[in-house]
């Protein structure tokens, strides 16, 4: 009996470890500093995590499908710069769809390379990271982009507005998370993504169009990136060319923290959201404890490796690797 509960506990920890860790963190920080669970603080954290979070939602699809996306950071810079530039040229109503179309085109390009041409996703998106960065700089001429009339535009609603007391970025993040979660867990397409990432060959033999599914995951990723760029642009109404630089690895860290395997086939939207929130709340909690901003890097390092390690350890039934 005792054995049984111990096994049950281990299984529970292996499956829901990330939730447990999240709860432990929240309680520990809340005890250390009551201001941590102050509603304003909580909203503040979620709001500032929203941009990273929206991007992580899309990357979750790509990772479950068994691929990587390192291009989301520079793609986000691109969409931010483009929408800010077009805002003054053709007005916000036209600028937003144009920006989405351009970003989706980039996503489609990656999708064709990785999906239909079956090129290695790490290198393709690494190449696109560099290429899109160059594209952004060429587009803007290397200058910062600013909206001329910052107070007289409704464009700021996506980043600064709020509905019924809830900040708009949070609403977009939550709404997108719910929709994508339903797509991933309740539709045939979602199941195909898992199948392709879990075992591509088996998926092909069971008649799943692998190339098209992979293509679609990159399209969804670029849609999320465009949304993130929209929030970013609307929040600051001006931007540098490098606003998204380095975010690709943070996004990936959040997705991995959520328990998605880089080999594909596992992960959920809900867990990615938890991964994003853990990163955000740790950063905030450490700052509230009075630690310098770089403490979060070190803590994140430890948490990522611990999270993945324990996950693997639970699967192989031993803490240490069997590599000789």
């Amino acid at each position: 009996m005792a054995e049984l509960t111990r096994k049950g506990l281990q299984g529970f920890l292996a499956r829901q470890g990330i939730l447990v860790a999240f709860a432990v963190f929240m309680i520990a920080f809340a005890v250390a500093n009551p201001r941590f669970i102050d509603i304003d603080n909580v909203f503040g954290v979620i709001r500032s995590s929203a941009i990273l979070g929206v991007m992580a939602l899309g990357v979750t699809f790509v990772v479950i499908g068994g691929n990587l996306d390192l291009s989301v950071g520079s793609m986000m810079s691109f969409s931010t710069i483009v929408v800010l530039d077009l805002h003054d040229k053709i007005g916000p109503t036209l600028a937003i769809p144009s920006m989405f179309a351009m970003t989706l085109a980039l996503g489609a390009f990656i999708g064709i390379l990785v999906g239909y041409l079956k090129l290695n996703s790490l290198i393709v998106t690494l190449g696109m990271l560099s290429a899109i960065h160059g594209l952004t700089l060429t587009y803007s001429g290397g200058k910062n982009m600013d909206i001329a009339d910052k107070s007289g535009t409704w464009f700021s609603v996506f980043g600064q507005g709020s509905v019924a007391g809830l900040p708009m970025p949070i609403l977009i993040f939550a709404g997108l998370a719910i929709v994508l979660s339903i797509i991933l867990s309740r539709t045939p397409f979602g199941r195909k993504v898992y199948a392709v990432g879990g075992n591509g060959v088996a998926a092909t033999f069971s008649g799943i169009p692998r190339a098209r599914v992979v293509f679609m995951t990159y399209l969804m990723s670029s849609f999320c990136v465009a949304t993130a760029g929209l929030i970013q642009a609307s929040r600051s109404l001006g931007s540098q060319n490098t606003v998204g630089q380095g975010m690709e690895l943070e996004v990936l860290a959040a997705v991995i923290l959520g328990g998605a395997s880089l080999l594909g086939g596992s992960g959920t939207i809900f867990k990615t959201v938890i991964g994003v929130l853990i990163l955000g709340f740790i950063q905030n909690g450490l700052l509230l404890l009075g630690l310098a901003f770089y403490a979060q890097y070190i803590v994140t390092w430890i948490i990522i490796i611990l999270a993945v390690w324990l996950d693997i350890a639970a699967k192989r039934g031993g803490l240490w690797s069997r590599i000789a």
Partner: protein
Amino acid sequence: MKNETRANLIKQGAIWAFILVELAFFSIAGEFLSVTETAFMDFDNMLLLLKQSAPIGIIALGMTIIMINGNIDLSVGATFALAAIVLLDSMTWPFMQTLGNWAIPLAWLFALATGVVLGAISGLIVWKTGVDAFIVTLGSMLGYRGLVFMYNGEQPTSHLNWTLVDFAEAQFLGLHTATWFLLGAAILLWLLMTRTVHGRNAYAIGNNRDAAVNAGIRVGPHFLWNFMLIGFLAALSAVVFYSESGSVNPNDGMLYELWAITAVVLGGTKLSGGYGSIISTLGGVIAIQLLRKGLGHIGADTETVNLVIGLILIAVLFLDRQLNRKGKEELRT
């Protein structure tokens, strides 16, 4: 068999052919487009190019071995920055001040040891936990960067030692100090990979890890050695570069990992492991630097270089795939 050697020869030669094409293109285009009078193939210009290739180049050499092993290291940029800080800061320590010029080799030693230790941490985690190197070094990248900031906050760390600057700027037989380090490291690592048991094991493990284990190769310690090696090389790259510049920002070295990987892939090394060559990586490094300089020479925006390199990387991947396709039945999808 004959076909296979020929395909190999094409692959090994491809990067050098590409370099020749670049040279020819920029020389001819430079005649019409360049704003300066000097030719692109100017001797001094080429020497400078080699020198500028050194920082990324030395790291890329180590990355080649890591990737032949089937691993990857994303933390080299942060290791580079931390080693640079240790190099410059250690020279200001009180006891080092009393040593005169003997402080220099000691500071080098400290910096290189930092790199080896950081590499060993990543390697040990990869070995003992069995977590994928991509994830481990993604974490290390953040953690080591945190250590960099911990050292001096957001302030740059600076220390100029003129003896050191003279050494770094010196030219021996025409080549700069940094170039000598790049070439020296390339030759030593080439010997390591082609003439030693360690090198053969690296290919074997990358090719088929299970088979390597069954053949009695100790994979874990082997990984550890290679991570220590790339840590050492990242530190060496920092030592060579910062001896001259004398000032390091906490953000220095960011994205170096991606540039190094780009150079390695251009050189034809496979991400999946088991295939690659040090000399071809050297070619990849030179090709990238040539592109950077060449685009500047013909008056293109320096920004376009990112665009061009990214697209070339994808094109190389595509061509490589087409070359490999023959003889292999692919699953139709």
